[in-house]
């Protein structure tokens, strides 16, 4: 048996407060490995965590031969592959042309079957970190 006591949880909530209260105790969706490179700065590292938590469930790497629906297909990556047909990477983490404004528009407005993300899911600070991560390889 494991018991996560209230004291420990309160402590966790406190510790995480500085890095973005909206995520609270949210554990990362570690079952979706991030495709990005190791990051250098704290904001990019935080952005990578945010991507893993909130984005990689649909925008992670596609596993070959996955069964649709019940397997490990990636709706976001698949949709972008169909849209760009190789002209741009289907993986958001591999893009070098995203801008913070572009990212914000899609995250806060949604697109196709991707819903809007509320600030209790993704705070403004974490949005900034996500943008820093997804634009880390842009050429100046």
């Amino acid at each position: 048996m494991r018991r996560a006591g209230k004291v420990l949880l309160a402590a966790l909530g406190f510790v995480l407060l500085g890095t973005g209260p909206a995520t609270g105790q949210d554990s990362s969706w570690t079952l979706f490995p991030s495709h990005g490179q190791e990051s250098a700065t704290p904001i990019i590292q935080r952005g990578k965590e945010v991507f893993q938590n909130l984005c990689s469930g649909c925008h992670g790497p596609v596993i070959k031969n996955a069964s649709p629906g019940i397997g490990a297909t990636m709706p976001g990556t698949d949709a972008l592959a169909a849209k760009y047909k190789g002209a741009k990477p289907a993986m958001l983490e591999e893009r070098t042309d995203l801008t913070p404004q572009f990212i914000k528009i899609f995250v806060r407005n949604g697109v196709s079957v991707m819903p809007r993300f509320r600030k209790t899911e993704l705070s403004d600070a974490d949005m900034e970190a996500l943008s820093a991560y997804l634009t880390r390889n842009n050429k100046p």
Partner: protein, 526 residues
């Protein structure tokens, strides 16, 4: 400034100030930009005036803050619409039934309070997602499985309360909850079942406690705000296997479902099974319908094609969980029972032993293995979402035939093109009955959505005429569905209204949820 219906601007401003004092200014969202994030991303009223728009959103963290919010709302008669993770997509998402309500967003209450892998249960808050719970169990190497619904970003609390379904033997989520903590409309905290006893040692192990069992009154309801929920978990099985049974002829469906029911109700077949029809899939590929449409290829012709091309009329993938010897024996027994149907064929499927390393699950049926994911959204193609029509029908072949005919007549009557169908044959998400799933594509086109709503409402009525009712519905149709549960002059709905008036006289909690309106907003019943 958006203002809830029936509330003055001055009162709303005063209430917002008190909400800020109670939970912190940063967690009271009032700008249009922030509040619009709570609109339904899959709204069937896109670009229409009827689209539900909240007036504000507030996100308390903790029981005491929820109590404070409810008390303030009572003072100013502010309608609150409670959400957990806000992912009730296809049923309204995070948008309120009553446009102008303040969304009570419990996402920040995301504590996993206990996971017990000896007695196999968890106690969680509403903001915990299936991903969170799964990851917690993996990180702590606990020998239990969760049962996620197809989209894993939802809340075990919210999905259980909405009476959602998954795919493992624990697939009936409300049936597998045990004990809840509820904030009532007056701000009082109540615990149900064994939780009513201070110091109880079995809150998550014995459902009923003593006296009337009231947990159901807080599912699909607006009688309280559930702040903690106990959930039963599946002990990690040693093995899983699946396999497919097929039969050749149209009328074979009757003994096919009879056999399936016997195996289900004897707990030999487990998890969620979907009825499949390779020949109806063939018919759809030729421009026909899943439901029976005028001019479709006839049954006799389909049987002839099936015979020539070796295509089965009906099939089902069955699932087994347990010790390897047991699941093998269950499959052998399954074959023995279905062999009574002449020409039945059998095909072994996937087989896994646990614990399973994730890399081995590349092509695994993840949801059926208790692994949350979002792959289901890949089914929705280029739409802007969907809403589900999901009537419960008897688990019999005759009922399936009747439903395909009845729904086909609606499609024909309203001129729905076969290519617009987004329908599967019945599922066994719940014990003892089938649920049909019609997905209505949402598009950002007013006329298309109007048509979908017309078809949806007609299906509700036609289903009711046949004795079938929806198990859950989008906020747009809650009144329509409640209206067909009308036995004895709506005795059940009137009971709900009596309870609502007693528990929540100011009508502050989720007005209109499941067709239950507070007295001040109740319309005269025809």
């Amino acid at each position: 400034m958006r203002v809830p219906p029936g509330v003055s601007e001055a009162d709303f401003a005063a209430a917002l100030k008190q909400f800020e004092a109670a939970i912190g200014k940063e967690w009271v969202f009032t700008s249009d930009e922030d509040v619009d994030l709570y609109r339904d991303s899959f709204s069937p009223f896109w670009h229409e005036a009827e689209d539900s728009v909240p007036s504000a959103a507030i996100a308390p963290d903790g029981l005491e803050q929820v109590q404070a919010v409810v008390k303030i709302a009572n003072t100013y008669k502010i309608p609150l619409w409670t959400i957990s993770t806000g992912k009730n997509l296809a049923y309204g998402g995070s948008a309120p039934r009553l446009s102008g309500s303040v969304v009570l967003d419990l996402k920040r209450m995301n504590r996993i309070l206990e996971v017990n892998d000896q007695n196999h249960f968890a106690l969680v808050e509403p903001g915990v997602s299936y991903f969170d719970l799964y990851n917690y169990i993996q990180e702590h190497k606990l020998k239990v499985w969760i049962d996620p619904p197809d989209p894993g970003w939802g809340s075990p609390v919210g999905n259980s309360l909405e009476r959602g379904g998954g795919r493992t033997p624990m697939r009936d989520h409300f049936a597998n909850h045990c004990g809840m903590e509820v904030v009532l409309a007056n701000g009082e905290v109540m615990r149900t079942g064994m939780g009513a006893m201070p110091g109880s040692k079995t809150w998550q192990q014995y459902r009923y406690g003593f006296g009337p069992y009231v947990d159901g009154m807080f599912s699909q309801s607006n009688f309280g705000v559930v702040t903690k929920l106990g959930i039963w978990l599946l002990p990690e099985p040693e093995a899983y296997r699946d396999a497919t049974v097929s039969v050749a002829r149209h009328d074979d469906l009757i003994p096919f479902v009879e056999t399936l029911v016997y195996l289900y109700n004897s707990e030999i077949v487990q998890g969620t099974t979907a009825l499949d029809s390779p020949l109806l899939t063939y018919r759809v590929s030729k421009g026909g319908g899943v439901v029976d449409l005028p001019g479709d290829i006839s049954v006799a012709e389909l049987e002839r094609i099936g015979h020539e091309q070796n295509i089965a009329y009906w099939s089902a993938e069955l699932h087994y969980y347990g010790p390897p010897k047991v699941v093998d024996a269950q499959w052998e027994y399954t074959k023995e029972k279905f062999s009574a149907i002449p020409g039945a064929t059998f095909k072994d499927g996937r087989s896994y032993r646990f614990p399973l390393e994730l890399k081995e699950t590349d092509d695994a049926p993840r949801v059926a293995l208790g692994i949350p994911n979002l792959a289901v959204f890949g089914f929705l193609g280029t739409t802007q979402g969907h809403m589900d029509f999901s009537p419960i029908i008897p688990m019999t072949g005759e009922a399936v035939f009747e439903a395909l005919k009845a729904f086909g007549e609606v499609y024909a009557e309203l001129g729905v093109a076969p290519k617009n169908q987004f329908i599967s044959l019945p599922w066994a998400f719940f014990p003892r009955a089938f649920v049909f799933l019609f997905g209505f594509p949402i598009v950002h086109d007013v006329e298309s959505n109007k048509k979908s709503r017309e078809v949806f409402r007609r299906l509700i009525k036609v289903s009711a005429e046949h004795g079938w009712g929806e198990y859950r519905t989008h906020i747009a149709y809650m009144d329509d569905v409640a209206d067909v549960y009308s036995y004895n002059n709506h005795a059940l709905l009137r009971f709900h209204e009596t309870v609502k008036d007693a528990l929540d006289p100011n009508g502050i909690l989720s007005p209109g949820k499941s067709g239950i309106w507070p007295k001040s907003m109740r319309k005269a019943r025809a």
